[in-house]
């Protein structure tokens, strides 16, 4: 049950799991306490939630990298 607490907070449980957990929370103080800890930790993570931006041209450079690799492989294979 406790392993579903994060999923509960992130909204990723299905309806049945969600309802079971809420029913358990109502009568389980220890689970409520764990839920509070999870809320606090997720608030900490939120400080770093912004995605990192890739450097300009990373996708193009990656395609070029693969192309160069393939070209080298063909040369090695054909002895060119």
């Amino acid at each position: 049950m406790r392993d579903n607490l994060i999923g509960y907070l992130l909204g990723s449980l299905d309806n049945a799991e969600h309802e079971r957990l809420e029913a358990e929370l109502l009568q389980n103080p220890q689970l409520q306490s764990e839920l509070e800890k999870c809320v606090e930790s997720l608030e900490l993570l939120e400080r770093d939630a912004q995605a990192h931006c890739p450097p300009d041209g990373l996708a193009e450079a990656t395609c070029d990298h693969v192309q160069r690799f393939e070209t080298r492989s063909v040369k090695v294979t054909t002895g060119g």
């Binding site: 800890k37 930790s41 990656t62």
Partner: protein, 216 residues
């Protein structure tokens, strides 16, 4: 991997058409045709998402760029192994995670070699300071932290988690993967993803409480 990369010369599939294809259609068509427009579309589609994942996982931008490039080189080399009944997204995360782990291992070996080199007193002090830093700031006076300092603390703490926990937090919380996608990426049961996520979150909470009991 035996496909030949070809630049598409036909006008059968322009950029607008490609953007409407699913990840799976892009990869399978690339595998069958060798047309690198399909590959390029996939790389561009995941540029932001996978770079951000690798940047968090590895902790620096240069390593993230390297891992991003080697990830897609592996996609190119292994696309013949992709099963049509799978989803591309978790498959990409599997490859990206493996590339990040490989890169960390290589860098760790490199650092060990560097640390083993004979050095003078100055070098010894630097290593001592580094160890102090790595061991954390347990004796540092407690203080109220700014948002930036909290963010830096989160990054440092995430970096100290074992790979098995860190990858789950990054995938589920930061990348927004579903539990089953993370499970597929890491080749573990969904229940294990949930328990690792729970353990990681509680570890973060315990660390924070231990260092900053008055700030939460």
């Amino acid at each position: 991997m035996s496909i030949t990369i070809e630049k598409s010369t036909s006008a059968t599939c322009d950029e607008a058409d490609l953007s409407e294809l699913t990840d799976e259609q892009l990869l399978i068509t690339y595998r069958e045709s060798g047309d690198r427009d399909y590959f390029s579309q996939l790389v561009h589609r995941y540029e932001q998402e996978l770079y951000s994942y690798l940047r968090r996982y590895l902790g620096n931008s240069e390593a993230a760029e390297d891992a991003f490039q080697t990830t897609f080189l592996q996609v190119h080399l292994k696309c013949s192994q992709f099963r049509a009944d799978r989803k591309v997204r978790p498959w990409l995360y599997t490859i990206a995670t493996n590339q990040a782990i490989d890169l960390q291992r290589r860098n760790k070996r490199h650092r060990l070699v560097s640390l083993n080199r004979p050095g003078g007193q100055e070098g010894g002090n630097e290593i001592g300071q580094l160890l102090d830093m790595l061991q954390g700031n347990a004796e540092e006076p407690l203080k109220v932290l700014s948002d930036g300092e909290r963010r830096d603390w989160v990054r440092r703490e995430l970096a100290t988690l074992p790979d098995s926990l860190r990858s789950v937090v990054l995938m589920i919380y930061f990348q927004g993967l579903k539990y089953r996608e993370a499970a597929e990426s890491l080749a573990i049961p969904v229940g294990t993803v949930k328990s690792r996520m729970h353990s990681a979150i509680l570890k973060l909470n315990d660390s924070w409480q231990a260092m900053h009991p008055e700030t939460i």
